[in-house]
Amino acid sequence: MEDNVIISGIGAITPLGIGAASFANNLKIGQSNFSKISLEQSNASYQYIIGMAPDFDFKTEVKKLDLPEEVLKKALRLRHLSKSVLFGTYCALESLVDAGLVEKVMNSSKVAIVSAGSNTQQSNLHKIQEKYREKVTFINPNYAINFFDTDIVGVLSELLQIKGEGYSIGSASASGNMAIIHGKRLISYQSHDIVIVVAPLMDLSIFEYQGFINIGAMKAIDETLAPNNAYRPFDEKHSGFIYGQCAGCIVLESSEHASDRKKKGYGILSGYGVVMDGNRGAKPSKKGEAEAMRMAIYNSGLKAAHIDYVNTHGTGSVIGDTTEVEAMLDVGLQDVKANSTKSLTGHGLSAAGVIEAIACLIQLNHGFIHKSNNLSNPINNEINWIKEKSSGLNINTVLSNSFGFGGINTSLILKKLKN
């Protein structure tokens, strides 16, 4: 694959803060932010551990961005948007301002919008359904637009009058990576100069929390551990994932378009690998994961030995962590530096791939690898786990994994830009 796509803008909301800058600072510090929450349903109360994003007021935050007046005016007028879409919209605007592309994308048919994830607004839909349970005929007609995952695509297209392709892409927890991969394809086909890859918040309702617990993937409440010590990817005491409220956006741009406007950007989106492993369920596959990594490395014109750092899928599920380590060793990634961004942010589910690509770019540019939180006793010592922050590094090539239920395996390679 040609190295013809760069990342020229980033935007993020995570439990570590609002905006990509606070995300970067807290990755450096190794900050985590997990807490217990109570959700009510039919007069009963249920407890979960989550990584909660800070209080977010769309209007206040969007005013802080350097947006053209007409865009800001339209943004402030938006109504009936779910929390999921508001988070995603903010991240998209932040990343476009960061890329210096707000005016350029307006009215352009060479700009596409790809959103990552399906069924990302469950909490909002559940609230509306509860409100109108006894008076269905009075449901707000906006519901018919709200419930589609493409609401965010329409919002961004209207705000910026973007006229290229637009849709959402769902691949369970691999959605973020898959949307990025699709963006690379759009630019490689030369139909688009810029692709806005936005991952709205996957906003769970109580039913998804409990579904994840019952399938054995999410860590149930544990009174013996403080919330910040509970999430332990690749540690002997790992016992499931903890959800984290994450949204993000990266702006992909053709290298040619970026060099014409003398924009350097954060890194190169090099190769990728995507394979299914013939399994509908939640069970991971060593063969499928290894194949995705091999494809990504091969398609980037590299060998395993060239990979400086692996941003693992690293969800903290016992079988998931074990399988990923086995797959990494199978590919020849012995002794590679690796960590789990989820150990700090929580698992953003459909947004995880985008957030982790942003984490990779931050680390690549700042020459550090953030600590893998709570990794005291690794399940395997053939990987160079980064237990405490490692600084002063020259990282040129990063591999980032995202695997989804239904046997969807994806890997990306990000490279440092040449000076």
């Binding site: 109504r79 008076k135 005929t137 009075f138 449901i139 707000n140 007609p141 906006n142 637009i145």
Partner: protein, 80 residues
Amino acid sequence: MEKVIAIIKENLLDIIPELADEEFSNDDSFVDLGANSLDRGELITLTLEHINLDIPRIELAKAQTINELAELISLKKMNN
């Protein structure tokens, strides 16, 4: 009828807050007031919910102004 007009106006201001700073007549068309078809659908649904009148929306499709809508709704309310 006056009460229905007041409810419609209150809902319209929720949907298009900018109208609060403008002078407009109850005979201006919804289009001229800046309401698109979705805004209009929301206005009708909110108003019907407010007065608890459940009638098919198609029966109100012809109303183009606040006065027309209020008149139709008042009529349906009497017959309901």
